[in-house]
């Protein structure tokens, strides 16, 4: 069984920024969170997957098919949600649906109407009259109404209030109960992923830092707090980043067990949040 999304050695350079050798794999039935600071290459990667940008090198396979050679077939099975509204603002929801629906082989009108009702969207309103949260919900309704097997979402939660965000996450959790569906979800609001993601792929400055099950990340990484005296060179090399002040230090390690053995009970090792992880990797050995 081929994975639902497979990116291999993907490369793309622009003036002043390059995506270097990006690889990761998403298996069927899982939610993958795609995290990284602003400008790390998240949207670029997603645009390359959607063939909105042309890759310089590498391979992208969706449902085991090349994303350019089988572009139409692949896109028929993808639901996409973008960070901004890309619908025609002058059209009403129903008019927009009328334009989009015929492109999909498996468009399901009654399912779409069900979502419109469920999300309490006004079908006769123009898209420009909707709030940001409603536009996002409309986008999701469209993405879910053609039996897509893979949902690609670029920062769907950015700019949404906590209530709408929470609703969105509930929808995704519900959706993924169908084991044939997968979600690829980019965000810099990592709290969302703590709740729903199975895998985390972390990109920083065009490089993949890691791509693995969420639980593994928390097993391996530790947020260590302790007195400054303990920081000798032997210990330091196990840290991804360290923040020091007059009273002590706090640092992120990728080798929790080893650091625990070295420092014993002189230091406290906490579970880091994804924010901590992102911050320490992004800033590295500089002062965090």
């Amino acid at each position: 069984m081929s994975p639902i999304l497979e990116v291999k050695n993907l490369k793309k350079s622009f003036k002043g920024f390059a995506l270097k050798d990006v690889s990761f794999t998403l298996e069927k039935g899982y939610i993958m969170g795609f995290i990284g600071p602003n400008g790390a290459g998240k949207s670029t990667t997603i645009k390359l997957i959607m063939n909105l940008l042309k890759r310089d090198d590498g391979e992208i396979k969706i449902f085991g098919l090349d994303n350019i050679k089988h572009e139409k077939e692949v896109k028929d099975r993808i639901g996409f949600v973008f960070d901004e509204n890309y619908f025609y603002e002058e059209l009403t929801l129903m008019e927009m649906k009328r334009v989009i629906a015929p492109f999909y082989k498996n468009w399901n009108d009654s399912l779409f109407n069900k979502y419109i009702k469920e999300f309490s969207l006004p079908p006769k309103s123009k898209i420009k009259e909707l709030s940001k949260g409603m536009k996002m919900k409309f986008s999701i309704a469209v993405a879910l109404s053609h039996d897509a097997e893979l949902l690609i979402m670029d920062e769907p939660t950015s700019g949404l209030d906590p209530i709408v965000r929470s609703e969105l996450l509930e929808i995704l959790t519900f959706l993924i109960q169908d084991e044939n569906k997968s979600v690829f979800f980019s965000t810099h609001i990592t709290a969302d992923l703590d709740r729903i993601a199975d895998y985390i792929t972390f990109i920083n400055n065009g490089d993949i830092v890691f791509s693995c099950p969420k639980d593994d990340i928390f097993k391996k990484h530790g947020l260590v707090k302790g007195p400054k005296e303990m920081l000798n060179d032997d210990v330091r090399k196990y840290f991804i980043g360290i923040r020091e002040n007059r009273f002590g230090f706090e640092g992120l390690t990728e080798n929790r067990q080893q650091v625990k053995r070295m420092l014993r009970d002189k230091a406290i090792i906490d579970k880091p949040s994804l924010d901590d992880i992102m911050l320490y990797y992004a800033r590295g050995s500089q002062n965090v």
């Binding site: 063939n51 890309y86 025609y88 008019e95 629906a101 015929p102």
Partner: protein, 219 residues
């Protein structure tokens, strides 16, 4: 594909309303001339619709939406070319309705009927300007293509204004005489067929360029 053309019409509801006023103004301003009323008003408003559909696409960053849907880029390009003819048809219907109303109400206005020559002239003019405009639009997008569009308009109107009288005066010139001779020898049908062949050639070249440019675009 036809839902893309439907989209181009739906987003232009306001332009369509504006069209009634625009066509009335055209009819009023072409009172003293005979034939240009029909050709000028229909050509102008059809091209306004072509332009405005491109502007709405750009305003809504539709390239991202459309290219994320399961369709080929050629569908997007083809739809734009077909829309030229749909817009022309809509505008001709406008013209027929408005002139009919003028006649029925017996308003003190001169109106001139739709003619086959007129329709051919309109189609030729629209294919020519859109044929030059679309490859630029598909290569650089709407905002940058506006400059090219301005130049195009400038050249067509002032160029036309300077060249046409010159040509008419220099009737003795061998070149013009040659063309006139060539046309005079043929039947009306032959001339029409030739015009259509030139139009098709223009469309094919323009379409091939647009498609080549659009396939390479990144969004």
């Amino acid at each position: 594909m036809f839902n893309l053309i439907l989209k181009d019409i739906l987003v232009q509801k306001r332009t369509l309303l504006f069209g009634v006023i625009f066509m009335l103004i055209m009819i009023l301003s072409f009172q003293q001339y005979e034939s240009p009323m029909f050709i000028a008003s229909v050509t102008a408003f059809s091209y306004i619709m072509v332009q405005s559909s491109c502007a709405y696409d750009d305003k809504n960053k539709s390239d991202i939406l459309l290219n994320s849907l399961p369709l080929n880029r050629s569908t997007i390009v083809t739809a734009k070319y077909i829309s030229i003819f749909i817009f022309t048809a809509i505008t001709i219907v406008y013209y027929i309705l408005l002139t009919a109303i003028v006649k029925i109400l017996e308003l003190p206005l001169n109106v001139y009927p739709v003619s086959l020559e007129g329709i051919i002239g309109i189609l030729f003019a629209l294919v020519l300007i859109s044929g030059i405009y679309f490859p630029i639009f598909f290569k650089v997008g709407y905002i940058k293509s506006k400059i090219a569009n301005f130049v195009l308009f400038f050249v067509v109107f002032t160029g036309g204004g300077i060249l046409v009288p010159e040509l008419i005066e220099d009737k003795n010139q061998a070149f013009i005489q040659g063309i006139l001779q060539f046309l005079r020898k043929q039947s009306k049908l032959q001339v029409i067929v030739e015009i259509f062949l030139v139009m098709i050639l223009l469309l094919v070249i323009s379409y091939a360029l647009s498609l080549k440019f659009y396939r390479k675009r990144e969004f």
